[in-house]
């Protein structure tokens, strides 16, 4: 491992300008630098996100009137399927860990890279391959898959659309996720700087640790499940087909054994980001560090045991339903622990309202609504009424998009100066965040009402009585999208024309704020020594360049 002053010469310039073995585009495509890989993920993920967002806009235009507005029913089925597949597998799952985890985890731990840099690059290639396979499925075989992102059997076995290829795309993406998880677990165990005990780790690292375990343990299940669909379609082996002695309910079990913990893969890293942003802008140590850290593990653990709540109306026994309902309610406890600790951190803090904190406060508001409506569905009786209605769509978007999506935007604004060494226009950022939050709530809260009134999800058509609410929801969607486009435009402008950012524009206390913006190739000239917790504002808890410090002290003595 390189250490000491040997690293100094590679750290003379930032990682963008460091000239290694390869030049131009190859210096990106063959890089093993965790920061470049993080940026490559960011570029890919933003493109996929914007594409899936446009599919969402098309759906909202279609929903403006009953019957056909702009597309045929089969097109609508394919569009909601691909909106889901792209958003889930290509955006929400990888976004925070793959972009910000890759970029900041090693820096926050005081390391020069992740534990397996080549494997890290390999996971990006797997991600791209999975994405391209999924895209390819749109234009080949029987056309775009039309099953919804859940690929439920028996429809996914019988559909004439190109389900096999899109499922295979998700299968490959799963490997990317596993590899990233494995890399992070090893990095956290092996690469922490001297003095960084487990309870001195930043909470973002804790969240990534819990997430990585879920990725490693749960993703193989979806891998084999999706692969079984391909085998069922190709060879009719009969694992899920009742006509051949299979059980369709088994598919739902296997699908949700992954896909429920997957929602924690999506939200836990976002919660980690919240725990970074709040102490920075409250200028105060986080309240309840250990409780927040351990609640991440508790969420990961309990989140594992609740998948059956997706299947309350699928034909499980009453006993199973009661057990899964009870377990579901338990998840609210560690989630509540986090929310109360965040709010308590703000209490009597010296709060500085900046865009990242605005997004975080929007998150707490939106996520609380999302979480509480989850309990409505976790209760057996109400779930019967609400299953497969817009209420579910509203809830899901509140927790996932309002939760993880909002924090993805918060993280972008929080770490943008560090990642790119540039600043963005604060006023435009505030306007875009406001438009986003207003539009978001108009868009998705209306879905709760629509669902409660009986509007089924995934329907192309609807009764005229729902039109008013659908139009209102669509207007909210258009406002929200305007906010998002403005936000990305502002960030892009900052990237091109923005002023140079300082090393620590927000007064952050974790290690990434102790190095230059953008960081040098090997992050640190010398591995720092950690002497205290990550969010201490009133004293130094890191010794940067410890060897130089020792030399200086020795010189002073002589």
């Amino acid at each position: 491992m390189a250490n000491g002053t040997a690293a100094a010469h590679v750290n003379d310039v930032d990682f963008y300008h460091y000239e290694g073995k390869h030049k131009g585009i190859m210096s990106w495509l063959l890089t093993t630098d965790h920061k470049r890989i993080g940026i490559m993920y960011l570029a890919a993920i933003v493109v996929f996100f914007l594409a899936a967002m446009m599919l969402g806009v098309l759906m909202r235009i279609e929903a403006l009137t009953p019957g056909q507005t702009i597309m045929k029913p089969q097109t609508y089925n394919s569009i909601f399927t691909f909106h889901g597949v792209i958003m889930i597998f290509l955006f929400i799952i990888p976004a925070v860990p793959a972009v910000f985890g890759n970029f900041f985890l090693p820096i926050q731990l005081g390391a020069k890279d992740v534990s397996f840099p080549r494997l890290n690059l390999f996971s990006w290639y797997l991600y791209m391959a999975g994405g391209l396979i999924a895209l390819l499925s749109l234009f080949t075989g029987g056309g775009a898959a039309d099953t919804g992102w859940t690929f439920y059997v028996p429809y996914s076995i019988r559909s004439s659309a190109n389900v096999s290829l899109s499922v295979f795309g998700a299968f490959v993406l799963g490997f990317s996720s596993i590899v990233t998880g494995l890399n992070f677990i090893t990095t956290i165990h092996r690469m922490r700087a001297p003095g960084m005990s487990w309870f001195r780790m930043p909470l973002f690292a804790w969240a990534l640790y819990a997430t990585s375990w879920i990725q490693v343990l749960a993703t193989p299940v979806i891998g084999i499940t999706l692969f079984l669909i391909v085998l069922e379609r190709a060879f009719g082996i009969g694992v899920f087909d009742p006509a051949l002695g299979g059980d369709p309910l088994l598919y739902q079990h296997m699908f949700w054994i992954y896909s429920h913990p997957a929602v924690y893969i999506m939200i836990l890293p976002a919660m980690g980001v919240v725990s970074e942003i709040i102490p920075t802008f409250a200028k105060k140590d986080i309240f309840g560090y250990k409780q927040i850290a351990l609640s991440s593990l508790a969420i990961a653990l309990i989140g594992y045991l609740v998948w059956g709540h997706h299947m309350f109306t699928s034909g499980m026994s009453d006993t199973s339903r009661v057990v899964f309902s009870l377990l579901t309610f338990l998840v609210a406890i560690p989630t509540g622990v986090k929310v109360f600790n965040w709010v308590a951190t703000l209490y009597k803090g010296s709060i500085e309202i900046k865009v990242p904190l605005l997004f975080v406060m929007a998150f707490i508001f939106i996520f609380s609504i999302g979480g509480l409506t989850g309990l409505v569905q976790g209760a057996l009786a109400t779930d019967i009424h609400l299953t497969d209605t817009y209420f579910i769509v509203g809830h899901f978007h509140y927790v996932m998009f309002g939760g993880m999506g909002t924090i993805f935007f918060a993280a972008l604004h929080y770490w943008f100066p560090k990642m790119f060494g540039k600043t963005y226009n604060e006023k435009v950022a505030i306007i875009s965040a406001t438009l986003f939050v207003i539009g978001f709530n108009m868009f998705y809260f209306t879905m709760f009402i629509l669902g409660y009134l009986g509007m089924p999800r995934r329907y192309y058509d609807y009764l005229p009585q729902y039109q008013g609410l659908h139009v209102f929801s669509s207007i909210g969607a258009f406002i929200m999208v305007t906010g998002i486009v403005l936000m990305f435009g502002n960030l892009l402008r900052g990237l091109i024309k923005g002023e140079k950012a300082t090393a620590n524009p927000w007064g952050g206390t974790t290690l990434e704020w102790r190095i230059a913006s953008p960081p040098p190739l090997e992050n640190f000239d010398e591995i720092p020594v950690v002497t205290g917790g990550p969010y201490v504002h009133d004293r130094e808890t890191y010794i940067m360049n410890p060897i130089k410090v020792i030399h200086k002290e020795e010189e002073a003595v002589h």
Partner: protein, 97 residues
Amino acid sequence: MSNNTSSETHHMSYGTYIMVWLGLVALTAITVSVAGLNFGSITLTVALLIATAKTFLVMNYFMHVKFEHTVFKIFIAVCIITFIIMITLTFFDLSFR
């Protein structure tokens, strides 16, 4: 890294390997013979328990987990417990349907 030398520090005799192998053969024989008995609803449980015992032997002796650092044992335990939970919560439903 110098603290990860567990693979160099242990030696097992061929005798132990052969004993473990004989144990595996014996357990396989038991699996085959009990398959002929009618245990009713616990048939699957019995088969899985024997398979678990075999897995335990293979992991500990052939895969040298017995000699590994505690952290790896914990990792493996987490995976096994997760797997048991998945199987239990998925299939206990069958008894109540």
